[in-house]
């Protein structure tokens, strides 16, 4: 049985670029959610979000940057960081045995927004020639493949909020099945445009801004939760066939041992206990481990009314009495909901937490919803906690539920 080593981690997240900064901010419970700049967001009912605060264009020559939507810029920076972290020898050898697997919900949303603004608002025909190439959903994956000369499978998955958990899981499957030896896998999302934010607002799923402290607006599992907060960013991993990673002396962060997929098949937004529990069970079966072996769950925990109580019930169904003894946290309380990038970001956080013996907190959880009665690690992280196996949940509009499991190196020998 082939195994999958996680040898590289890279993030460009609202809570920090680079895993060390991200984890320091999460350990300290610092939220990156904030009031968005007045222009152009002043007309929003909830002008809050979790932006990435750095000038991405410095990473690219100007001739290239105009071909890249923000969603691809974020992806390329995070993927490069993961490749550097993995110390992969470049140029890659056996490029037909390498692949790219990316999740994104909305692709190049800013480019689409700008193109329609040109056509409908300015009534101009000067649509940028790169509009199609920058906005197409697979652009980020394509550019990563071009940068590293990768000739194996190059795939983009779009299953809304579980997109990049699916991308990581499907990448692992390529390695398990023997179709590939190295996969660059991750997720990317750049939804903080006026058009996208208005569309999400119209669905009445965005949190009301906290009147005192906007950074406390996303309150997973809380009685006072009022919805999700959108964030932007990208997270990538390098996955390698275990023995090959060992043979080249790679530093292995963790083993990606479980991937479970199950769909609700009932409603476009409303989740089901059955679908979420089935995905968790499928991941446990894939990893061939018992529910008692899971030491931490990074919850989907969106802070929408529907998700948090259903997810809590699903965890109780899978883990039974032990559910109350497993720390479960939603780091979305700090980095917001990165939609198609959420699953990859939260998997990276889960792996990095395991390496640091850290349990990141759920922030802004003063009074829990009576339906949400697990140990959510409210308000403060825990250090010195030995984690052998961790689970990361990603559930989605459309009903595609994906769950990943990572295990500490050495746990299985």
């Amino acid at each position: 049985m082939r195994r999958v080593a996680v040898t590289g981690l890279g993030v460009v997240a609202p809570s920090g670029t680079g895993v060390p900064l991200l984890m320091a901010n999460l350990a300290a419970g610092r939220s990156a959610v904030r009031q968005l700049a007045p222009a152009p967001f002043a007309a929003l009912r909830s002008p809050i979000g979790a932006p990435v605060d750095s000038d991405l264009s410095v990473h690219f020559p100007s001739a290239r940057v105009r071909m890249l939507d923000r969603v691809s810029q974020l992806a390329l920076i995070a993927a490069a960081e993961a490749v550097v972290d993995a110390k992969l020898e470049l140029p890659l050898a056996a490029t037909d045995r390498c692949g790219v697997s990316v999740g994104t919900g909305m692709g190049g949303a800013a480019t689409t927004d700008e193109g329609y603004h040109t056509i409908y608002a300015e009534r101009s025909d000067r649509v940028k020639p790169f509009t199609v190439l920058a906005s197409m959903t697979n652009a980020a994956a394509a550019w990563i493949g071009i940068d590293y000369g990768i000739c194996g499978p190059n795939l983009t998955y779009s299953t809304a909020c579980s997109s990049s958990a699916v991308a990581l899981g499907e990448a692992a499957r390529r390695i398990w099945s023997g179709e590939a030896d190295v996969m660059i896998a991750g997720g990317t999302e750049a939804p903080l445009t006026y058009g996208v934010l208005r569309a999400w607002e119209a669905m009445r799923t965005i949190a009301a801004p906290d009147p005192v402290d906007p950074s406390a607006s996303c309150r997973p599992f809380a009685k006072t939760r009022s919805g999700l907060v959108l964030g932007e960013g990208a997270a990538f991993v390098v996955l390698e066939e275990w023995n090959a990673a060992i043979a080249r002396g790679a530093k292995i962060h963790a083993e990606l041992s479980g991937y479970g997929l199950a769909s609700d098949g009932t409603h476009i937004t409303r989740p089901t206990v059955h679908g979420q529990a089935a995905a968790m069970r499928a991941a446990l079966a894939c990893a061939r481990i018992d529910p008692a072996e899971i030491d931490y769950i990074n919850a989907h925990g969106t802070a929408t009314h529907q998700n948090d109580s259903i997810e809590t019930a699903a965890i109780k169904e899978v883990f039974a009495a032990r559910a109350h003894r497993i720390p479960v946290s939603s780091t979305k309380s700090m980095h917001g909901h990165l939609l198609g990038a959420a699953g990859a970001l939260e998997f990276v956080i889960s792996v990095a937490s395991m390496e640091r013996e850290l349990v990141p907190p759920t922030m802004h959880l003063d009074v829990a919803d009576p339906d949400c009665d697990l140990d959510y690690v409210a308000g403060r992280s825990r250090s010195g906690v030995s984690l052998g196996a961790v689970m990361s949940n990603s559930f989605a509009f459309g009903g595609t539920n994906a769950v990943l499991i990572a295990e500490r190196v050495g746990r299985r020998g």
């Binding site: 020559p61 100007s62 001739a63 105009r66 000067r126 940028k128 020639p129 790169f130 190439l133």
Partner: protein, 85 residues
């Protein structure tokens, strides 16, 4: 300013080129300007000269000088535009 120098300014700004790379006989492709870049470049030319390029862009624009000749042709069609540039 001559058309060549104006185009050099645009190319330097948009394509990270050095002025001495942009010789009249330089191939646009060799400067990293492919067919889609050329379309983007036409927007910059329209902005700089405050004109609207209504005709199709000729397929045989391969060197910097071809571009100079094309732009000079546009300007010759409307001398007022040239004065404002």
């Amino acid at each position: 300013m001559s058309t060549l120098e104006t185009l050099k300014d645009i190319l330097i700004e948009e394509f990270d080129l050095q002025r001495d790379q942009i010789m009249p006989d330089a191939e646009l492709a060799a400067l990293g300007v492919d067919s889609l870049d050329l379309l983007e470049l036409m927007f910059k030319i329209e902005d700089r000269y405050k004109l609207a390029i209504r005709d199709d862009i000729p397929a045989n624009l391969s060197t910097v000088n071809d571009l100079v000749v094309f732009v000079d042709g546009l300007l010759a069609d409307d001398p007022d535009l040239h004065a404002s540039a």
